[in-house]
Amino acid sequence: MEFRKKNQIELDSRDYLARSDEQLAGLVAEGNTQALETLYDRYSRQAIGLAYRIVEQAELAEEVAQEAFLRFWERPDLYQPERGRFAGWLLSVIHHRAVNERRRSSFRLNVSADKPFSADGGDEADEPLLLSRLSDNAPGPDEQVLAQAQREVVRDALGQLSYPQRQVIELAYYSGLNQSEIAQQLGEPLGTVKTRLRLGMQKLRIFLNKKELVELVSEKD
């Protein structure tokens, strides 16, 4: 309690803005609401945008993203810094929750009878099945500039894919469909879908990792 009081009084908004995501996450674990609000300001656009892309309803997307932030407030121990960057973890949680929400909606409409990845409500439901992101990049104070640069790279990367490759990746990631469901929806053999998804992801991985390498080398030069 004493630490919480101290932090709330002695830090002003400039201190929060200068802190990395992981430092702010640490303060959230100590009960610091302003640290959580700073993280929300930093990532709400991407978080709600990701949820919207999946659930396709603005109010529901906001609800899904905000609940993920609030769940982190209630259970800050769910984020483990040694397993990766905060942003990657947060977006994974939101993706997971949004896909569950989309599947629940589909189930209600009897469009899909498949069950969601996990039952809602338990702590395990907040932990995505995917492992958290692991990265050696420590986010610095110029995080926002880097994010902008990363966006340009993402667009370039997706531009590398052929339409069928992009289509199966989008159906999997943004619509929450598995490969069999995609094959059924497109009327394509399962093997074709698997190949497109695999090659597309490999192409993205090579392009993005190479870009990151070039960035690192450029920074060192």
């Binding site: 002003d12 009960g31 407030w73 993706h95």
Partner: protein
Amino acid sequence: MKCKQVEPEIEAYTIGALPLEEMQAIKDHLENCASCAALLREYNLTVESLALEAGLDFEPLEGHTARFQAKLSQRTQLRPGSATVEELTHRPKLPNSSQPSARQGSWGRFVPAGLALTLVLLLGLGLWSLSLQSQLEQERNQNRAVAAQLSLNLNQVKELNEQLSNEKDRLVSQATVLNGENGSLKQQVSQLRVAEEADKVAQNVSLLLTRPGATTRTATNDKFGVTVLMAPQERDVALFAHSWPELKPGEVYHVWLYHTTGQLISGGSLKLTPLPAQNLAEAIIGVPEPMANYTTLFVTIEKPGAQQPNGLEIVRDKLA
């Protein structure tokens, strides 16, 4: 599950494209297998990029921050172990005093006893009052000490604020200098990237020229032209653009192909590398199947991620 079973599914696993049971089985395997976990880590940036891409042009609903703050405020009261400032500074109130009640009775019979009792009560009240005063005095002293400490803390906070403000000014000034340097570095990196792209394209062009059946074809219209270097069994094709129109912000060149089955296929967006000759640029694109399986290639100007050709068509070449 064994590594041999996990490896071919790792791409699908990274974006959750497997049935629940399979996802769980792979997750269990990854927790105990360092080499498969390392393979998965190679996709971290890819998956994070897909997540970021979704929010690129997204505008949240107005007032979302205020709604979040309201929810947070509500949850803060419920969070175990969290306390409000009032709770942190709360001091217990003094116990309510209850007046001792004098027994009512017959004066005549109980006067001496009543007087004695009254004296005892008065004495007790006096002592209690003294004790209360002493307690209040202690309380006042403590409050004065706390007030003095708070005043001291307030001064320290003011000093710290002043220091931070000076520090901010210094950092802003440094940032201005660094921004200038950063711009110059970015320009250098950009030039290096162009050179790197040009090298890559040149290597691919040389490679294509050695492939069986490699041909070059040129198609032109009134304004623009394209030379296509391709080999029937290759999935790479080199394009040389003649005097193509300049792109506006938010536009890309997009390649489209007609398959021998008649199906329209997207070849993705095209990034041109300028060549020394005026109005000439080149690019290499990858297509899903060998070039022999396509009958026509054409290029349009689109917004990124277009799924159908809607924009201005620049050039078209019948490959057959």
